[in-house]
Amino acid sequence: MNTQCLHKVEDICAALDEELDSERCKIIRAHLEACPHCCAVVDSIRKTIRLFQCLPRADVPEEVDLRLWKVLRLEGPEA
């Protein structure tokens, strides 16, 4: 990765999130087309995000649920 690429990496964050139609994003895209290393950086971040998004979400354990309704003095769905 050359120094120019390193400077681009900060901008890649924006490329992954928003402002996809911005002038800045067009410049980043053009750079990515010409730079395999930065493409790999972007891809690695995308894959990382996707992988973490695949972690299962926890269900609230039943006993935790029951204690919550008790603390709140509300009738839960099981009451």
């Binding site: 950086v41 894959k47 990382t48 995000i49 998004q53 926890a58 609230v60």
Partner: protein, 196 residues
């Protein structure tokens, strides 16, 4: 029994008026969301339960003051996040900056990308990898962890997160970017170890 309501606005108004069924419906609707945020931020089931209880006690107490400037869910996220961060401060979780976090220029990201592949759902079935991922989130300093969890795991917008944390959007972006690089490098370390 939790009743159903025509709209969230109606639900909020009823709950503000002291309708216990409406209050229960709000708790039920956001319970899992709050528990997951608390669990991700504290990394501890017992603390997550405490955060969830404190959050909903606060929600029910403060509901009459809720003006609807943000969505109810965002308001509840904010309360839950604040309690979780307070919990981390109580635990004196060491905090350090990732702002100077250096990219490893020699890292073979093409190999990493091939190893992760295009089927992450199948990869996370691996218990050892899941543990590495959980530990990596846990190792993030609180401000980076919070930004990452809220954006990438909970799907909040940058503006919502900025408003919740009283930061500007640029700072939130930086925190998320640093967190992603940190997490990717932890994963890449694991992939490299596994290959040897």
């Amino acid at each position: 029994m939790v009743l159903t309501y025509e709209s969230e606005e109606q639900l909020i108004e009823r709950a503000k008026d002291g309708d216990r069924g409406a209050q229960a419906a709000i708790v039920k609707k956001y319970e899992q969301m709050v528990y997951n945020v608390a669990l991700r931020l504290t990394g501890n089931a017992e603390e997550a339960e405490g955060v969830m209880q404190e959050t909903f006690l606060k929600v029910l107490e403060a509901l009459p003051t809720f003006r609807g400037d943000s969505q109810l869910g965002t308001w509840i996220y904010r309360i839950a996040t604040n309690f979780a961060l307070m919990q981390l401060r109580k635990r004196k979780v060491p905090t350090y900056s990732l702002d100077e976090y250096n990219l490893d220029e020699t890292r073979d990201l093409a190999s990493f990308n091939r190893a992760i592949g295009d089927n992450p759902e199948a990869l996370v079935l691996n218990a050892e990898l899941r543990q590495v991922m959980e530990q990596a989130i846990e190792a993030l300093p609180p401000k980076y962890k919070t930004a990452f969890v809220l954006k990438d795991l909970e799907g909040l917008s940058l503006q919502q997160i900025a408003d919740m944390l009283n930061l500007n959007v640029a700072t939130v972006k930086t925190h998320i970017h640093r967190a992603r690089l940190f997490l990717r490098d932890r994963l890449a370390d694991y992939v490299e170890r596994a290959r040897k």
